[in-house]
C-alpha cells in the first residue's frame, strides 16, 4: 500500500501531514499497522525536511550517480553519431574534439550504444545521495541532491527503490515535492492513493486543481484532500471538491500552536496529542476510499 502526500503548491503542509500520519500509525501500532510494516520516504530531494521532524537514526548512506559519457580519443573517429542521437544536446563534436556537457546529460546511454567505434565509456558522476535508517521500528529513507545539479528524478527513483522493496506487504508513505512536473510525477507513479494537502486560498485552490489533474487524470490514482489552515481564506476548496466529487478527509484549523510547534520542528502529535486519533482516522478513511 503506497500513499503519496502531494499538493501542487509549496508550503501547504505536505510534510506536516505525512510525518504526523506516520507517527500516529507508529504510535498506535507499535511500529506495525495491523500487521504491515511502516515505511516513510521523503521524495523532496531538493529540500528534504521530513528528517527535521522524524529525527531518524540513519545507518546507511549511498551515492546516487548518473552515467556520464567519456570519449576515448584513441578510437574516436569524430563521426558525430553521438551528438546526432543525443536528444538533450549534451554532447557536441567540433572538429577533432568531443565536448560533453554534464549538466545537460540525462544518463540515458544512447551515445554509448550508438557509437560505431565503441569509443564511449560511461562513468558514474555523483549528483546526490540517499540515506536510510529507522524511526523506532519504522523504516525511513530520504535523498539529497547536490547543489547546482538540475535533475532530481534519478535521486527520487533511488529513494523509491529503497522504500518500495516490500511495498506489497508494507504501508509506505511518500512525501512528495511541490509542483506538478517531473519530480512530482516520478514520486506519484505507482502509488495506490494520492493525499492532496491544500490551504483554502486562491493560490491553494489553483495549484490543487493542477495537482489533481496530474494524479487522477494523467496517472489514474484516486485522490483525497486534506484542508490545512482552515479559516485562513474562503470556502472555495469545499465547493471545488463538491463539484469534482473529491472527498475531503481531514480539516486542520489555522492554529497558532501548530504553527509554533512546526517552527521548532515539533510534530503536531507531540504538541497536541489529541491529533493522533485524528490521523489514524485519516488513514482508515484512505483505506475505505481505496477499497471502493
Amino acid at each position: 500500500m503506497i500513499i503519496t502526500v502531494a499538493s501542487g503548491k509549496g508550503g501547504t503542509g505536505k510534510t506536516t501531514v505525512a510525518t504526523n500520519l506516520a507517527l500516529s500509525l507508529l504510535g498506535a501500532g507499535d511500529g506495525t499497522h495491523r500487521g504491515s510494516r511502516l515505511v516513510f520516504a521523503d521524495c523532496d530531494v531538493e529540500e528534504p525536511n521530513a528528517a527535521l521532524f522524524l529525527r531518524p537514526l540513519l545507518s546507511e548512506k549511498e551515492a546516487v550517480s548518473l552515467l556520464i559519457p567519456a570519449v576515448d580519443t584513441e578510437s574516436c573517429t569524430y563521426c558525430g553519431r553521438c551528438a546526432e542521437v543525443c536528444q538533450f544536446h549534451a554532447i557536441a563534436v567540433v572538429g577533432q574534439k568531443v565536448l560533453v556537457f554534464d549538466e545537460l546529460c540525462h544518463g540515458c546511454g544512447s551515445c554509448a550504444l550508438e557509437c560505431p567505434e565503441n569509443a564511449i565509456e560511461e562513468s558514474p558522476q555523483a549528483i546526490g545521495h540517499v540515506e536510510q535508517g529507522r524511526v523506532g521500528s519504522m523504516v525511513f529513507c530520504h535523498g539529497e541532491m547536490n547543489i547546482g545539479v538540475p535533475m532530481a528524478t534519478p535521486i527520487i527513483r533511488q529513494v523509491k527503490h529503497i522504500a518500495l522493496e516490500h511495498c506489497a506487504e508494507d504501508t509506505v508513505i511518500l512525501d512528495a515535492p511541490p509542483g506538478t512536473s517531473c519530480p512530482v510525477v516520478e514520486t506519484l507513479r505507482g502509488s495506490d492513493y494520492a493525499l492532496m494537502v491544500t490551504e483554502p486560498t486562491p493560490f491553494g485552490l489553483h495549484d490543487l486543481a493542477l495537482a489533481i489533474e496530474v494524479a487522477r487524470d494523467v496517472l489514474g490514482i484516486p485522490v483525497g484532500v486534506v484542508i490545512n489552515r482552515e479559516g485562513v481564506g474562503d470556502d472555495s476548496i469545499d465547493a471545488y471538491c463538491r463539484e469534482h466529487q473529491i472527498p475531503i478527509l481531514m480539516r486542520i484549523p489555522l492554529d497558532r500552536r501548530i504553527a509554533e510547534a512546526y517552527s521548532d520542528g515539533i510534530p503536531i502529535v507531540s504538541a497536541l496529542p489529541e491529533y493522533q486519533e485524528r490521523f489514524v482516522a485519516l488513514y482508515d478513511q484512505i483505506m475505505e476510499e481505496c477499497a471502493r
Binding site: 531538493e46 512536473s181 486562491p202
Partner: protein
C-alpha cells in the same frame, strides 16, 4: 536593466505575494517587466489580473511510441530504457508517457523500426498586460517534463521585451526547490531575494537555496516572512545573515491582510496601507 529573482527553496513562504508587491511598488516610479518562473504552479496572475495578448505553444521535447504492427517483441527497447518507461502487458509493448524522458535510445536500438518519436506539446506561454507592467508567464501541462526549458523560454522572451521597451527592472517570481527550473529562473539575475520563514524547515532550505545562488554567483538578500511566529528562529536567521554578510532587508509579521489581498486579487501593497505594506515599501527602497 536590473533583474531581481524572488526565491525561497521551501515552497509557500510568500514568494508570489512579495513579488507582486515589489512589482506594484516598482511600477510607481519605474518601468518594469514581470516574469512568473513557476510554470508548474503559476500564481502571479491570480493577483495581477492580467489581460492575455499573446499565446504560444511550447514543444518541450519528444516521446517514444511503439507501433504494435511492427513490434516483434524482442524486448530491446525495455532493456535499453533507463527510465523504466517501457511496459509489457501480455506480450504487448508500450511506452509509459509519464516515465519517458524522450532520450530516443529505444528508437535508435529497435531492430524492427517499430518505435516513432513524436513531438510533445507540453505547455503554453503567454504575454499579458497587468496594471504594473507586461507579464510573461506559462502553464506546463499536467505531469510534463522540461519545466526548466519552459522557464528559459519565458525568461528569454521577457528579456527581449525588456530590451525593446527599455524597462528598468525585471522582477522574476521563482519556483520552489533548487533544481532545473530554479537554475533557469536565476540565470542572468543581478539579485536574488530569498524569502524565508522562521521555522526549522525554512532555515534548512534557506541554506540550500543560498548555496545555489552562491554557486551561480548571484548576490542575495533575505526577507523573513511571518517573523513573529518564532522570535528565536527569526534572531537565528538574522545572526546567520550577519555572519554571512547577507543583507536582511525585511521582517514581515504574520497578518491575515496578506490572504485578504489574495482573495481580492491584488498585491498586498495595493490593497492596504497597513504595517505590512509599509514594511514592503521599505524592502523595495532597500532593493531598488
Amino acid at each position: 536593466m536590473k533583474q531581481i529573482v524572488v526565491l525561497s527553496g521551501k515552497g509557500g513562504t510568500g514568494k508570489t505575494s512579495i513579488a507582486a508587491s515589489l512589482a506594484h511598488l516598482a511600477s510607481r516610479t519605474a518601468s518594469i517587466v514581470l516574469t512568473d518562473a513557476d510554470v508548474d504552479a503559476s500564481n502571479l496572475e491570480l493577483v495581477l489580473t492580467p489581460d492575455r495578448f499573446v499565446e504560444h505553444e511550447f514543444v518541450g521535447g519528444q516521446g517514444a511510441f511503439v507501433d504494435r504492427d511492427l513490434c516483434i517483441g524482442c524486448d530491446t527497447c525495455r532493456q535499453v530504457c533507463r527510465f523504466d518507461a517501457v511496459l509489457v502487458e501480455e506480450g504487448v509493448y508500450r511506452v509509459d508517457d509519464t516515465g519517458c524522458e524522450g532520450c530516443a535510445a529505444c528508437f535508435y536500438q529497435c531492430p524492427a523500426d517499430a518505435i516513432e518519436m513524436r513531438d510533445r506539446t507540453s505547455g503554453l506561454w503567454f504575454r499579458s498586460e497587468t496594471p504594473y507592467g507586461t507579464l510573461f508567464h506559462a502553464h506546463l501541462f499536467a505531469g510534463q517534463e522540461n519545466s526548466g526549458k519552459l522557464v528559459s523560454v519565458v525568461k528569454q522572451n521577457a528579456l527581449v521585451w525588456s530590451v525593446e521597451q527599455r524597462t528598468e527592472y525585471m522582477i522574476v517570481d521563482g519556483p520552489p526547490g533548487i533544481g532545473c527550473p530554479v537554475i533557469a529562473a536565476c540565470a542572468g539575475a543581478q539579485l536574488a531575494v530569498l524569502v524565508v520563514e522562521p521555522t526549522v524547515s525554512g532555515i534548512h532550505d534557506l541554506g540550500r537555496v543560498l548555496a545555489t545562488t552562491d554557486h551561480f554567483q548571484i548576490p542575495a538578500a533575505v526577507i523573513i516572512n511571518k517573523c513573529d511566529v518564532n522570535a528565536a528562529r527569526t534572531d537565528e536567521i538574522a545572526a546567520y545573515c550577519a555572519e554571512h554578510e547577507l543583507p536582511l532587508v525585511g521582517r514581515i509579521p504574520f497578518d491575515t491582510v496578506v490572504t485578504e489581498a489574495m482573495l481580492a486579487a491584488q498585491p498586498v501593497t495595493a490593497y492596504s496601507e497597513g504595517p505590512i505594506a509599509r514594511e514592503l515599501a521599505e524592502v523595495w527602497s532597500a532593493l531598488a
